[in-house]
Symmetry: C2
Subunit: 221 residues, 2 copies
């Protein structure tokens, strides 16, 4: 089993349990911190003293408080740590449940496992740690299967840009101006109109209001 584990979790209640769960697996050294910056420092020091950690268990979202941080999210932390210790095993433990987001984290950060904060999360954590220790990857069961629903649309950055502008109150007829300002390739009003109507057709929406709440819902804007 792993020898040294570092837990990064800002919620005290969750931190306590994760610690307890890890200790029940017989891992001798479990360090726990509440801030990403602290986690990075401990990782650095452990590496310097040539006693690096085996496993990082990290949350994704960290609440801001009076103590300003350089690393403000689990994603930033993992990216930073990967620079100095690429072989480190990483397990993300987060409440984030959107398949698209979890999928993106697996691909972008090459993490070794993801456990969602949910009903059987303590048991799942143990399983995930075991699986990772054996060299495997722990992927949530609900992620393996259908990521996409029947009517799904792959949003391009262009789509997201114009939908964001709409949700910020920019008039549709003024969007071309903004696009030109930022040198975004199709900048014509017709292109904007066409794109919006295409998206709405696929998703079977009739109004922009529907589209923007949908995008808000899935965390796109």
């Amino acid at each position: 089993m792993f020898k040294k584990v570092l837990i990064v979790e800002d919620h005290e209640v969750t931190n306590i349990s994760v610690r307890k769960t890890v200790e029940e697996l017989g891992i001798p050294i479990t360090k726990y911190v509440y801030y990403c910056d602290d986690a990075f420092t401990w990782m650095q020091n452990a590496l310097k003293s040539e006693e690096p950690y085996d496993l990082l268990i990290s949350d994704l979202f960290f609440e801001e408080d009076e103590i300003k941080q350089k690393l403000t999210s689990g994603i930033e932390l993992i990216k930073a740590i990967r620079q100095l210790q690429p072989n480190l095993k990483v397990l993300v433990f987060s409440a984030e449940g959107r398949p698209a987001t979890i999928d993106a984290i697996f691909k972008e950060l090459a993490i070794d496992g993801y456990v969602r904060k949910a009903r059987r999360d303590a048991q799942t954590l143990k399983q995930a740690i075991s699986t990772i220790y054996k060299g495997g990857k722990y992927i949530p069961t609900d992620l393996k299967q259908s990521i996409k629903r029947k009517n799904s649309h792959e949003f391009t950055t262009f789509d997201i840009t114009i939908i964001k502008l709409l949700s910020q109150g920019v008039l549709q007829k003024d969007i071309p101006f903004y696009l030109q300002q930022h040198n975004i390739k199709p900048s014509g009003l017709s292109s904007v109109e066409k794109r919006l109507s295409q998206i709405k057709e696929v998703l079977e929406f009739s109004k922009n209001e529907q589209l923007v709440v949908y995008c808000k819902e899935i965390g796109l804007i």
Copy 2:
């Protein structure tokens, strides 16, 4: 200190820690369950055997799974339990952070305390339990102060109705028809238009798209 406490929390990890935290306060009997229906049953039985619980610690949101529940949220649970044991002390422990929502729960359910899942939540839980035991109410510090921002609008049920319809793709010109169907008093198109433009003026919004994402954001729709 309290004698019998019931913990309702679907996340195993959180459940474990809350339990531990409560036990550290020297409370002899702490029952913990993962479903609202179970909580209700245990409350009922304890009342029948004339050994009722002193305190209920409950989450608000419970994830659905294969085991179908009658009570699907902490709010429903608390309402149901208040029917049979009105004097029970209730502490809500949830991740919900929107002041308006927390405020509504205090007023509608007359709960005795609210602790938000956040950085120092374990310590805060202990404080809250102590405060409630002494007969006080535990209100989050950030709620006491500014609930309202500079440009805030008090949404009526009428407002919410029409904004919901918009977000569902109903054309503005068709909204009067829906309002008549449900016998909602002002049903004219002009009334709808006037209301929307008033709201947008107060919130300094220019488009409906902005309004609906805002309402989505604050959990109104």
